[in-house]
């Protein structure tokens, strides 16, 4: 094969490659594109022939979805819960990992395994008896109940532990020679080097917190304590007398998904570079 032909063949292959990838991207985006189109259509358009055409009821639908689902309150709850559990988890993970990596003490192995065994006990598996604990504490339908029990994070602890183990002994020695105590070392040496790690973990934990479903469903029972992901369900039209107002549902779904998607898009650099590179 001549050189020219080889180059031509290569560029055809590249083009084909890109075409396939664009097709995949469109397929992945299709549910969202369709949902957005529906969220702008009127009820007549929704029950007619399915189409991706944008309708004229965008403002009307989003306003209706907002009012009907008490969206302001739902969003506040979701943001509060996701943010508080994320920050709580990160702080606890940093403290635990710091204790495990930079100290020798009796019971270290027990502490380590106590934390990591939680990976083996996902929420749904122990939901009935955890519900009982929350109820005994009087935490049902409260923000404390929504956040505190979720703050233990084996993933976070593991993640920071891996990172702290790469800190050279010389750095610790230097700090000790300078007379820095452990907390000083944590604050002035480790923390300034941890921001990229914290950002990476923030993405994962924030999305995890925002996307919680079973926990808030179980322990809250009033509408004003509901989070977005749970509240969305109540808009879905069942059979019978209800109008098939899927345009309203889709508008609410758009509102429910926009924030975590923005978080992942804006912090994905950290998410991919740190979280994925180290988790492997």
């Amino acid at each position: 094969m001549s050189r020219k032909a080889a180059v031509a063949k290569k560029s055809w292959k590249t083009l084909l490659n890109h075409l396939v990838l664009i097709l995949i991207v469109l397929l992945v985006a299709f549910p969202l594109i369709y949902a957005f189109a529906i969220s702008t259509q009127s009820l007549q358009e929704v029950v007619g022939r399915p189409t991706l055409k944008l309708g004229s009821s965008l403002v009307k639908n989003y306003r209706e979805a907002w009012v009907r689902s008490n969206m302001g309150r739902l969003l506040f709850n979701s943001i509060f819960v996701a943010f508080t559990t994320t920050v709580g988890k990160i702080i606890m993970a940093i403290l635990s990992a710091f204790a495990i990596v930079f100290f020798n003490f009796r019971g270290k192995a027990i502490a380590f395994w106590t934390i990591f065994v939680t990976l083996m006990l996902p929420v749904p598996v122990r939901i009935v008896s955890t519900y009982q604990v929350i109820s005994d504490l009087g935490w049902l339908n409260t923000y404390v109940g929504l956040t505190v029990p979720l703050m233990a994070s084996a993933t976070g602890t593991f993640f920071f532990r891996q990172f702290y183990r790469t800190i050279p002994d010389e750095l610790v020695e230097a700090a000790q020679i300078d007379g820095a105590g452990p907390l000083r070392f944590l604050w002035s040496v480790l923390m300034p080097n941890s921001w990229a790690n914290i950002a990476a973990l923030f993405v994962v934990l924030f999305i995890f917190g925002w996307n919680q479903y079973l926990w808030p469903l179980m322990i809250t029972h009033t509408v004003d304590m509901r989070v977005v992901v749970v509240g969305l369900r109540s808009l879905i039209p069942g059979g019978g007398e209800m109008l098939p107002e899927w345009n309203i549902v889709m508008a609410a779904a758009m509102i429910a998904l926009i924030l975590p998607v923005i978080v992942i898009l804006s912090l994905q650099k950290y998410f991919v570079e740190l979280y994925i590179e180290t988790e492997k």
Binding site: I100, V101, P122, S153, P182, R233
Partner: protein
Amino acid sequence: MERQVVFRNKWLPYLLLMPQIAITIVFFFWPALTSLRLALYRTTPFGDRMFFVGLQNFQRLFASPQYRQSVMTTLVFTASVTLVGVFISLVIALLLNQAIKGRTIYRTAILWPYGVALPVAGVLWMFLMHPTFGIVPYYLDGIINFNFDWILNGQAAMLLVILTAIWTNLGYNVAFFLAGLQAIPQSLLEAAYVDGATRVRSIIHITLPLLSPTIFFLLVMNVVYSLFDTFGLIDAVTKGGPAGATEIMIYKAYRDGIISLNLGSSAAQSVVLMVLAILLTVFQFRFIERKVSY
């Protein structure tokens, strides 16, 4: 590797660990132990008395046709989500790895559904596939001979939840595969190319073996995801129906405990799931580090 230089302090490490350990004991260990205990008892329908029944709850569970069906459903669901999801992700990642230009943009365009909560994703998909109003059945009905009515047809419901679960996790898988692929030395593939290996051959003989740790990791992660994280999807979309067609084990444990108030059976099911979770975690830990050091 044990760290050589450490700080000396008698009580500080305990203080630092206390919040996390306290939460773990109160909200993880205690409920898990309660579940274990509850699994050995039977509660009267009004919940006022409990009898010790030994392993009877487990015997009944394994003999129950509904539970067996649920196990089968879980197998089909988990295997489909894991195998199909990981395979598609691998293909996409291999394609992406070739496209030098725009790789980051493509990755972003595939990663974003990871941010969508499964129940929300479920709502998008249930409308997409809605037998009366959805666009997919509307255009595929004449082409494919399949009853898309997920409200009445169990297979359609299963397909719906499988597709949604794969869609949500796709970007996560692809991102891990891409990171794995980029760690493979380019020189190795070039050497193979010089030796006259075709693209497919070099993928099979060089890329895949080197990628096997990532493949293994993602298989385990996807199994865990399908088994435990998909609760919200099932609850929001099918509630286990129609006629138990999508009632995976985690959902059955919840329904039997919370809705049917059959606490003994639900606790026994939780114990089975815990054992599964422990096996998977140990498996994964073994792999991440052969020897765990602190």
